[in-house]
Symmetry: C2
Subunit: 221 residues, 2 copies
Amino acid sequence: MRNGAKPPRPLPYERTPSAIYAQSFATVRAEASLDRFPEEMQAMVIRLIHSCGMVEIADRLAFSPDAFAAGRDALRAGAPVLCDCEMVGAGIIRRYLPAENDVIVTLNDPTVPDLAQRIENTRSAAAVELWQDHIEGAVVAIGNAPTALFHLLELLDQGWPKPACILGFPVGFVGAAESKAELAARPRGCDFVALRGRKGGSAIASSAVNALAAGLVEEKR
Amino acid sequence: MRNGAKPPRPLPYERTPSAIYAQSFATVRAEASLDRFPEEMQAMVIRLIHSCGMVEIADRLAFSPDAFAAGRDALRAGAPVLCDCEMVGAGIIRRYLPAENDVIVTLNDPTVPDLAQRIENTRSAAAVELWQDHIEGAVVAIGNAPTALFHLLELLDQGWPKPACILGFPVGFVGAAESKAELAARPRGCDFVALRGRKGGSAIASSAVNALAAGLVEEKR
């Protein structure tokens, strides 16, 4: 503040976290079409919408009927969360995880570039191969790479053990819509949630994990 | 693979990174309205769209004419990148940064919760106060919290030194549209890029930094 000058006026905006959450969730409930979702899934859908500011994504979500329970129970039982990129891992709110669950991101493992060359696929796909010892009963969160989701489905076709729940939110113009359509059409016996089309991203994928871990915990405060 | 069984067929999808990038950028160029942007900004807009799968965001971008050059030159001169959350930091591709620039995220600093109580604002806003020694000439990337952007503007009103470029991509239903409208209407003498409305997010904010750092480097490979 300059000498003698009147202090500048603060800007008019909501500063109280609980009020911000309440107003956000109320707006989502007022604007989104949530009727077709079971109640627990509604909490996830609200959190997904909250993460991206787009109520219209509710209309493009595909999911298996038991997806929420399967993912929630896996986390409670201590299952790890397998993420396709560091951003997804960074968005998972650790204090919400019910069993100090491991959050595993293998993308930057030093063996990945060579492995990608050998399997003639992307680094994101190669990183999925390193999930082999953790995949059984795990929660998978894909928020970036279509090739990670496609390659996971291929590895399941080759006989890999099944994860408890696949959260499919790869994003973009090449393979994102196609990989999520493949997951929704042939989920290989896994529970899943997926956002059809090009939209997706790491914030949405992280929020799906946070929903499985804690529902809409902020609403109850 | 099971004994004697025929190996399952691989799924049909693009696995070559350079082809994926080329096809993505070509789709964005074909579908997005880029004409109103200067050439360097077009590279940023393509990268922003690529990060979220939404060509329509091009129509809602506000920016100052020199935003790209200001941000790029700041990074070349070694300026730090100040991020409002860990996800934004995680999405910045470190090898693209021209001067091994520091990427600073203060949200989880142990002093932040008490500071938030004292200033009666969110943790995200309190974390911005810890940028004071780094703000002059910095690149600011906000991909989550409207209160972080609002509070930065308040601190500039109180006489803080100016950052070189503010990348404004807070997301959501409470304050996101309003904080970005305030930045675009009264940028306090700073260069800026902002996505009007509710849409935004950490992946878009990170991609804006990556664009300043490297343009569309993948296109030239």
